[in-house]
């Protein structure tokens, strides 16, 4: 599939908004980690966020499913505003899948149990149905033969693919990726990125914190650069990599792309 077909046709109308962040601020003590963030993500859109460590990019996407609380501003996910109401938070978490840097699989459960936990307990799916669905997703990430093993018996790349499948089993409308490849050995990065590209081809709405610039170029609709809690620059991948506007972005790109 060419890059153009992959990126075509995002309907940027108001009723197609999946995530809307308006004037979000967050502080850790005195540290202003998120400073007036405005961001709208439309259905089917893929956004890659990059930036130096400590720039607030992880915190930003962790706010989207309330793993972090914001202190000012508003987040609306799929029409529901994130508030302190636990019911709303749980409802949004059902719709938003999250993939972590360190996989965070449940080590005391087998792979198939990891995948069926959410569907059985949150979606109230019958066990057999949940297991069938889990096998479908395991096939999709090419590890259906590991279903009965425990996470500790798998390589890092396999674990991350299981983690992606685990999120997909909840049939989320949005997938968040928090540096999904940065804890992996170099030879395993590709197998995880391939799974993510497949997901993109299916039209999943994705927000990815990553420094994989190749992935950003081929898959993202928009690339954002964050520094000191602000979105410094935001553009199409083409423009972003070929004509970065800010000095800070240029410096960062020159370091990361050497």
């Amino acid at each position: 599939m060419s890059d153009e077909t992959l990126k075509k046709g995002i309907n940027r109308s108001d009723d197609n908004k999946m995530i809307e962040i308006i004037g979000m601020h967050k502080w850790f003590g005195d540290l202003h980690v998120l400073d007036d963030i405005h961001l709208t993500v439309y259905k089917g859109e893929r956004i890659v966020i990059c930036g130096p460590s400590g720039s607030g990019k992880s915190t930003l996407i962790r706010c989207i499913n309330r793993l972090e609380e914001l202190q000012k501003g508003k987040i609306i996910v799929d029409g529901t505003e994130l508030t302190n109401n636990l019911k709303d938070v749980e409802k949004i978490r059902e719709e938003v899948g999250m993939v972590f840097q360190h996989f965070n699989l449940f080590p005391h459960l087998t792979i198939i149990e990891n995948l069926t936990l959410g569907p059985i307990w949150v979606r109230k799916a019958p066990k057999k149905e949940a297991e069938e669905m889990a096998m479908v997703y395991l096939k999709k990430v090419h590890i259906e033969d590991q279903a009965q093993k425990y996470p500790g018996q798998l390589s890092g790349g396999q674990q991350q693919r299981v983690a992606i499948a685990r999120s997909l089993c909840m049939k989320p409308k949005i997938m968040l990726f928090d540096e999904p490849t940065s804890a992996l050995d170099p030879e395993m990065v590709k197998e995880v990125l391939d799974v993510m590209i497949n997901l993109a081809e299916e039209g999943m709405t994705m927000v990815v914190v990553s420094h994989e610039m190749g992935f950003a170029k081929s898959v993202a609709h928009r690339v954002m650069f964050m520094d000191f809690g602000r979105i410094v620059e935001e553009n199409t991948p083409q423009e972003f990599f070929d004509h970065p506007q800010h000095e800070r972005t240029k410096l960062f790109l020159s370091q990361i792309l050497n």
Binding site: G97, F100, N104, L105, V122, S167
Partner: protein
């Protein structure tokens, strides 16, 4: 990229060297490797030579197993006869003699239930019902009063049934209570958190004996006139409350060992608090703390012997009563060794089982 040649032919690889040593070599390297170690080895050997043969002679060769007390006094060896001659009082205390079959059946039921529950494949809801039914029948057997069984008041209960009852109920009730306290202590709600901390620190700050005294002496003062709570139940409550505080701190340690990522992964799947704890966090945390938890349960089991100070006749107290009988006076080593063996068998079974459980849960 260049493919590196990969040699899978094991025969060409270097094997780890096999070292064989003979008995003499082993002795030399383990027991006599240096002047100090040689001296220690020799001293220990002399000590064992002085201790073991006389003990074997006393306990086995010269001992009497089924004799009267007078025959024992004539002999030089151990008088194990004190056990068979008084076994029924040691085991059952003041429970009516002709009704001893009832606590016997109850104990056999309890032990079979424990054995049945050892297998993790049996852990399901029906096991819960089996336990409830079993406990009910045991209670009826002990207490009587219906089905044509003669009623036996609980102040006549004693010996091994009492020890087992206090400890088994103590453990099974204290464990979940301890988990709740540990979760409460980590709660974000200040009221719950403060209450749990207060409870844990207060209970851990006093010895079990003082709690037992309070349950026996102080507690009835607060009850409305005419209402009394059985002394055994009061002691049982004291043991449960005491053990739970210690369990809580151990479980809290386990909870702290679980990484934040596990909580976040569970939350991002949409699991609520109860599901998150029950399905993700507690299974891992409780597994980590199996060794210290079993340590607490074992000491709780042994601490049940402290109920003697509020005049309950547990197995240690019944044994001491036997020693108070003039004809059997003076044979305390034999009697105490016997009771120690009973305690040891129970505790050893517990620690053995915990090790097996750890192995099975190892993943």
């Amino acid at each position: 990229m260049v493919q590196l040649p990969r040699d899978n032919n094991q025969t060409d690889r270097l094997r780890a060297p096999v070292i064989r040593i003979g008995a003499w070599q082993w002795l030399k390297s383990n027991l006599f490797n240096g002047v100090f170690n040689s001296v220690v080895t020799i001293l220990v050997c002399i000590f064992l030579y002085k201790i073991i043969p006389p003990f074997v002679r006393w306990a086995f060769i010269d001992s009497l197993w089924l004799s009267t007390a007078d025959q024992c006094r004539a002999g030089d060896g151990a008088c194990w006869s004190i056990i068979p001659a008084n076994i029924r009082f040691i085991i059952f205390g003041f429970y009516p003699y002709e009704l001893h079959w009832r606590p016997t059946v109850a104990m056999i039921m309890l032990i079979s239930l424990l054995f049945y529950s050892k297998n993790r494949n049996h852990w399901n809801t029906s096991l819960g019902y089996i336990w409830i039914a079993g406990l009910l029948i045991m209670g009826i057997l002990m207490r009587g009063g219906i089905w044509g069984l003669t009623a036996v008041e609980s102040d006549q209960w004693g010996g091994l049934p009492l020890t087992l009852m206090l400890s088994v109920f103590g453990m099974f009730a204290a464990y979940p209570l301890g988990i709740l306290l540990a979760l409460g202590r980590r709660s974000k709600m200040p009221a719950i958190k403060t209450l749990c901390i207060l409870y844990i620190e207060l209970i851990r700050g006093v010895p079990l004996i003082s709690l037992l005294f309070m349950s026996a002496v102080l507690f009835p003062l607060f009850l409305p006139a005419g209402l009394t709570v059985n002394k055994i139940i009061r002691a049982q409550a004291a043991i449960i409350l005491f053990t739970a505080a210690y369990i809580a701190e151990v479980v809290r340690g386990g909870l702290q060992a679980i990484s934040r990522g596990q909580y976040e992964a569970a939350e991002s799947l949409g699991l609520n608090y109860v599901q998150k704890m029950r399905l993700v966090v507690l299974p891992q945390a409780l597994k980590i703390v199996i060794p210290p938890t079993v340590g607490i349960l074992i000491s709780a089991f042994k601490d049940t012997s402290l109920v003697v100070i509020i005049a309950l006749y547990d197995i240690l107290k019944t044994t001491r009563s036997v020693l108070g009988n003039p004809s059997w006076m003076g044979f305390s080593p034999e009697a105490y060794i016997f009771v120690a063996l009973i305690y040891f068998v129970c505790c050893y079974a517990m620690s053995n089982y915990s090790r097996r459980l750890e192995r099975e849960l190892h993943s």
